[in-house]
């Protein structure tokens, strides 16, 4: 039925996560060998030598024995459970036998990756940039959306059209002079170019908030006005308390955006290791360790942990926010 079909699709859709998790727990040889799970060949130490263990068919049963002496038509094995019995002769070609595997999970990969990329530093950087930018965008976007929603500004519609136009504007056009400007005032190599522009309102957020504010009935505004409240007071005491879903949605959007942002930190931070956020940090690390897929997958997990956990905790709020503000066109 359709549920079965959908389940299959979901399994395929999410399978790269399984790849990521399993690979991050392997080590290099396991990956090259191509086994699905983190497994390594079992070995048995006998007379100071690590002997490989094979699945040997004996009298209709499968036993796991260590190969002691290789021969062409017959070989000698040691039974790990009974080494005192000495070498056992077995008829058959050892090359046709399957290697016995055991689970060998390399939890250490995470520790290695964690220390190598200095994850706590990356995490702090990312959080700082995201949170400060978040404060800035909330402060400014709420004010600007309030202006568009509640005040009789001349040419308001044209200004709003220009605002929406900036959403569509490709960033390349403004990028070069903006970069040149920040470079001239020595803000490159700092976090300032990544944070300060958000204090001047983000077109997308203003758009969402303005749509939301416009839906709010004016009666409450007017009641407050009659009680002598000024526009600022009205914003804080009337508009904002009614708008928590939209505000939370904007906050989450910005946080996710900042967490994801790769291009701007790439060009503005000039590769200074102490300042890099997670996105650039992971990329730099994987540039160096590109022959170590297990470490790369471990860093991928580190990068996605926080947003995904955040998502699961807030998914109801988040998805409702998108539906509320996204469907209402």
């Amino acid at each position: 039925m359709i549920t079965l079909f959908t389940t299959l699709i979901v399994i395929g859709y999410l399978s790269p996560f399984a790849y990521m998790t399993v690979t991050s727990l392997k080590d290099k040889t396991q990956i090259v060998e191509g086994s699905i799970l983190p497994q390594s060949p079992r070995t048995f130490v006998y007379e100071d030598e690590a002997l490989p263990i094979y699945n040997v068919p004996v009298d209709g049963e499968m036993k796991q024995w260590a190969l002691f002496k290789k021969g062409r038509e017959s070989s000698q094995f040691i039974d790990p459970e009974n080494p005192a019995a000495g070498p056992i002769e077995w008829q058959g070609r050892w090359r046709q036998l399957e290697t016995a595997m055991e689970m060998d999970i390399r939890w250490g990969n995470f520790e290695t990756a964690w220390t190598e990329i200095e994850f706590p530093r990356l995490l702090f950087n990312t959080l700082f940039i995201a949170v400060v930018g978040l404060i800035g965008t909330l402060l400014s976007s709420i004010c600007v959306a309030y202006a568009f929603a509640r005040f009789p500004i001349p040419a308001k519609n044209m200004l709003f059209l220009i605002l929406v136009g900036t959403i569509v504007l490709p960033r390349q056009v403004t990028l070069v002079p903006t970069y040149a400007f920040f470079s001239q005032i020595n803000w490159t190599g700092t976090w300032l170019p990544l944070i300060v522009p958000h204090f001047f309102a983000n077109a997308y957020n203003v758009f969402l908030l303005r749509q939301f504010f416009r839906q709010l009935p004016r009666e409450l505004d007017e009641a407050a006005m009659i009680d002598g409240a000024g526009p600022f007071r009205i914003l804080i005491s009337v508009i904002i308390p009614q708008s928590y879903p939209a505000i939370v949605a904007v906050a989450l959007f910005h946080f996710v955006f900042a967490w994801n942002d790769y291009f701007e930190p790439l060009i503005y931070l000039l590769g200074k290791r102490d300042l890099l956020p997670i996105s650039v940090g992971i990329q730099e690390f994987n540039f160096v360790y590109d022959q170590q897929p297990h470490l790369i997958q471990a860093t991928a997990i580190m990068g996605l942990a926080l947003p995904v956990i955040l998502f699961f905790f807030s998914q109801r709020v988040f998805m409702r926010g998108i539906v509320v503000t996204g469907v209402d066109k």
Binding site: F151, I153, V176, M319, V323
Partner: protein, 321 residues
């Protein structure tokens, strides 16, 4: 005195009220400007001035390392546009990618949303969350996960193809042809948002319409084409515009996977990779600005075309004809 005094008295009495009303309006306007000011300042500082400056740059040979040595070179940068082989390559690469990517970016979330909207589906909320969740994964992680997943030898896609179908999968990441499907696959996780908005819109379609159509004998396909699609066309339009915008900004995925080299053999030399190399690696800001204005022009034309086409296929249920 009585006959002429009355109108004057009335006029005098009305004055304070009118003055109060006008000053309220004006004070409201003033407050409006106050609250609008962050955006106005930001717009001038981060959009208007840079756009003008960027336009001026296109007529110079500005190199950031030595801004003092900048000279005006007239239309040389524009002439360069016609002689730049990388430009032609990058335009072609971006175009042939777009021709498939854009429809896919609508069809895939639409299909998933339709699937999730099906009547007999169990655990819809769970599936919805599962389909949306990968959208939250940061792009960097997505890129590296798929970089491994699509690996020709150790990646699970090829291992699966081999064990389930006996097909030897292509070298997804190094073959100049197969790199494009690989890029599409990487992009699939990004359709979660579109899927959600489309699903939400589908759920607002009144079921009476479906019932009436079935009574009239319509089959599922007809219902989908004639009822569902038109009624959710605003959301489809919204997502189409977003996809278009994303297309003109397409950069991170090819850049991180191939480290900005454009391999294999220029197959990933997207427009923005060429732009980035010109402006930030070769530091040629003058020509870089020219490239920026070119893509701006193309993007504006494309956006206008899409908006103009909306008249023909986007149906707003709230409008009156």
């Amino acid at each position: 005195m009585a006959a002429t005094d009355k109108p004057q008295a009335l006029y005098a009495a009305a004055q304070p009220a009118k003055a109060k009303k006008m000053s309220l309006e004006r004070s409201q306007q003033r407050w409006g400007w106050v609250f609008l000011s962050p955006w106005i300042i930001g717009f001038i500082a981060f959009t208007l001035i840079p756009m003008t400056a960027s336009f001026i740059f296109t007529f110079t040979n500005l190199k950031l390392a030595d801004p003092g040595a900048t000279e005006f070179i007239g239309l040389d940068n524009y002439r360069k546009l016609f002689n730049d082989p990388d430009l032609k390559t990058s335009l072609w690469v971006t175009l042939r990618f777009a021709v498939v990517a854009l429809p896919l970016s609508i069809v895939i979330p639409l299909s998933m949303a339709t699937l999730l909207n099906a009547k007999n589906l169990w655990a819809k909320r769970l599936f919805r969350t599962l389909f949306y969740m990968p959208y939250m994964v940061p792009l960097i992680s997505v890129i590296y996960i798929f970089n491994g997943f699509l690996n020709a030898n150790t990646g699970w896609l090829n291992m699966f193809l081999d064990s389930a179908f006996g097909i030897k999968g292509p070298d997804w990441l190094f073959d100049p042809f197969w790199i494009y499907p690989a890029l599409f696959i990487i992009g699939i996780w990004g359709t979660g948002n579109a899927m959600l908005t489309m699903l939400a819109s589908m759920q607002t379609v009144p079921t009476e319409l479906y019932e009436a159509a079935r009574v009239d004998g319509a089959d599922s396909l007809l219902i989908f084409r004639k009822i569902t699609l038109p009624l959710i066309s605003p959301v489809i339009f919204y997502n189409l515009v977003l996809s278009l915008i994303g297309l003109f900004r397409y950069f991170e995925i090819p850049y991180v996977i191939k480290r900005g080299t454009g391999d294999p053999g220029n197959a990933t030399l997207f427009y923005n990779i060429h732009f980035f190399r010109t402006a930030f690696r070769f530091q040629d800001m003058g020509y870089g600005a020219t490239l920026a204005w070119l893509i701006f022009l193309i993007a504006m034309i494309a956006t206008v075309l899409v908006f103009a086409s909306a008249k023909y296929w986007v149906f707003y249920a709230g409008d009156r004809d």
